[in-house]
């Protein structure tokens, strides 16, 4: 099964193209461009529309709509006099839950929401009303976290791509956003509408020039500058370009077409279509950290982890690429081995894992902190955080092998300080593998190769 992004869109969030396109020539052009984008989607083999809306802010990580049929009447906070939009949406709940799970496995705070009367934001309602009337294709909607940075937003896209590939989806990615978002602060007559300022218009033209050349990653890199220059300081900033760029693997050689660019109450409204076919110009460099897992501002409520943050491992044994082999199981989602061995081997119906510690894939950090510094001086560390990280790593390896934690049958655990750590380790065990019920042996040992306090050796069924 091979899923992919077959089309990406940038569309404006305002209700005017839905409720009163006829009142302004520009609004009608936006509406027509929306209709053209809809036709392109209908002519494709798309089976999923993914909405990242700047008008649904979240605080607790990211939220994903998982109500199979959100229904209500939407009224815009500012433009309530234009009328109401009755919406009844069809959500791909399987995808929503899978994306949520993928977010968590990549270190993000994430949750699904499914509540009667949940106020689907105006941007998502407008986009789905115009791109997907009659709910021909199921959709999924994700919030914008008010505190997220580029790393977190990039990981959000990567976990989405994980699910697209796993489920074989042909997905359309949609960023619902304005370009310049400075609206007139006074009511205006429809015929008076124009881009708020010449400066905003010039920036918008530059953005559209890049997009028409398929240079999505360049826009992502300019995102902070653009936000400073032509954006009202709303909390969600210019993040959707980070998300859309990451959804397209940060490419600069997409095939882009601007279907319309007009003003809506002063803001820059554009409908842009980006197809994955290379425009032939050759890709450019991607010179920001290509983050796979998020290890940032998380768990700040957990007092034991307030003082002990995930610490990059800057010293210790050399790391190896996992050894390949006919029955080897290896994954980028688990930390690199400290020797020449695979993450696991599958023999018949059984999977044998190499010893798994808490180190994080990618940056090699240790959740809960290392047990000693470079000079060998002991450090305070959080055994519960380390144990949780071990279990997460085990889950990732088993998932790669086509199995899961539910199939673990035997575990041998190694602790470097039984007196100090057994209780915390045992507590996390009870919350995780203890619920599965494998046999277990816990041993005290003098040391492990890296400055970690716990490691587990696992045997599982396929």
């Amino acid at each position: 099964m091979s899923g992919e992004i077959i089309k990406s869109l940038i569309v404006p969030p305002h209700p005017h193209p839905v409720l009163c396109p006829e009142k302004n020539e520009g609004w009608q052009k936006i509406r027509d461009a929306y209709d053209e984008a809809r036709r392109q989607i209908e002519e494709s083999d798309a089976d999923l529309i993914i909405i990242y809306s700047t008008l649904w802010p979240s605080v607790i990580g990211h939220q994903i709509q998982a109500d199979p049929n959100p229904e209500w009447v939407m009224v815009d906070a500012d433009f309530h006099d234009l009328g109401s939009i009755h919406y009844s949406l069809k959500i791909d709940t399987d995808f929503a839950h899978a994306w949520n799970k993928a977010n968590i496995s990549r270190g993000l705070e994430s949750r699904t929401v499914a509540y009667d009367g949940f106020p689907v934001d105006v941007g998502s309602v407008v986009a789905l009303e115009l791109l997907n009337p009659n709910n021909r294709i199921p959709a999924v909607i994700c919030s914008t976290n008010v505190y997220s940075n580029r790393a977190e937003t990039t990981v959000l896209a990567k976990s989405c791509l994980d699910v697209i590939k796993a489920q074989g989806k042909k997905a359309v990615a949609v960023s619902v956003m304005s370009l310049s978002n400075r609206m007139f602060t006074e009511p205006i007559e429809p015929h008076e509408d124009r881009i708020h300022s010449l400066k905003d218009d010039e920036w918008n033209q530059k953005i559209l020039e890049f997009l028409s050349e398929g240079r999505l990653e360049d826009i992502g890199q300019l995102s902070r500058t653009i936000h400073d220059q032509i954006r009202v300081k709303k909390v969600v900033a210019f993040k959707p370009m980070w998300w859309l760029s990451a959804m397209n693997e940060n490419r600069n050689d997409l095939t882009g077409k601007v279907l319309a660019y007009e003003a809506i109450h002063g803001a820059g409204a554009a409908v842009v279509v980006l197809d994955p076919q290379s425009n032939g110009t050759g890709d450019k460099e991607y010179d920001e950290d290509d983050v796979d897992f998020y290890g940032g501002d998380r768990n700040v409520l957990d007092s034991s982890e307030d003082e002990i943050e995930s610490t990059p491992l800057n010293s210790g044994p050399a790391l190896y690429d996992p050894v390949e082999g006919k029955t080897a199981v290896n994954t980028d989602k688990a930390p690199k081995p400290v020797g020449a061995y695979p993450h696991a081997r599958r023999e018949g119906e059984l999977i044998y894992l190499s010893g798994v510690g808490p180190r994080q894939p990618g940056d090699n950090s240790i959740p809960g902190g290392p047990i000693k510094d470079k000079a060998g001086n002991p450090l305070n560390y959080d055994i519960k955080a380390q144990t949780r990280a071990v279990v997460d790593n085990i889950a990732r390896i088993l998932e790669e092998a086509g199995s899961s934690l539910d199939n673990v049958i035997d575990v041998t655990s190694f602790l470097v300080d039984m007196d100090r750590d057994f209780s915390g380790y045992n507590e996390v065990w009870a919350e995780t593998l203890g619920k599965v019920g494998p046999t277990r042996t816990t041993l005290a040992i003098r040391a492990l190769p890296t400055p970690i306090a716990v490691e587990m050796k696992v045997i599982a069924k396929v």
Binding site: A77, F79, R298
Partner: protein
Amino acid sequence: MAKGSIVAGCLAPHPPHLVYADNPEQNEPVSEGGWEQLRWGYERLRESLKDVDYDVIVVLSPHWQTYVGTHFIGVEKCSSKSVDPVFPNLFRFNYDLTIDVELARAIHDQAKSEGMSVKMMENPDFRVDYGTIVSCHMVRPEWDKPIVSISSNRSLSYYSVEVMQEMMMELGRSTAKAIEESGKKCVLLASNSLSHRHFVTETNPPEDMSKEHITSHAMHLWDMRMIDLMRSGKSQQIINEMPEFCDQAIAESDGGALTWLLSAMGVPSQPATLHGYGTIIGTGNAIMEWPCHTWGEQ
């Protein structure tokens, strides 16, 4: 007709967490209580207002955000369900409230005559924001008083704290004048917290108070400073320090409610009463009351 008056002004924050604890039947059936300091604070505020005669609650909420001027609900009967898009697990509230459209329009007209950009919201499908509902519910859970609901004009986002304050000072004066001419007695609510930096994780259960605290000591210091200024009647000092407060404490007063409230009360030198302080997912929340109805007796 006797002159109308502001009988009390309140800083009335709107964390949905408080209603969650109070109304489990309308929400997740797993509440274990929590945030008692603030819930008790609202109890003390309600007790303080118990014998105060008033006709209307006038509330300005930062969760009805408007960019094209300041808006007022102009629909007399508002009935629907309010679901918090940020904490939908905590707040899904069926409301059925009455708007004092006459007073809302009077404030609107007064502000318009002073050159402000204002608009009446007359779409019957409009959903009242959860900030308005939480603050009003915590102050008057009986819902037997009509309210005036005022949007938060995001002029700070467009311009600066200084511009926001100029506009909110004018809106406050217009509010006071319209109330005076209406002959009505009003309680004013500024529906906002103080420092406003959230944690980005949620405990299970959300009301696990062993994990609740202010996000940083700097935020705590700002909250205490603002409370001290309010308790000592230094309203003008609050207005003077608002730019730094908004910037450094990411204060929710950036929405203008506190400045509007202070202006409507005439930037009082009388002290406010602190009824309660507590943190909600890291943000600082104080329940304050300026008992304006007593000032004439001093």
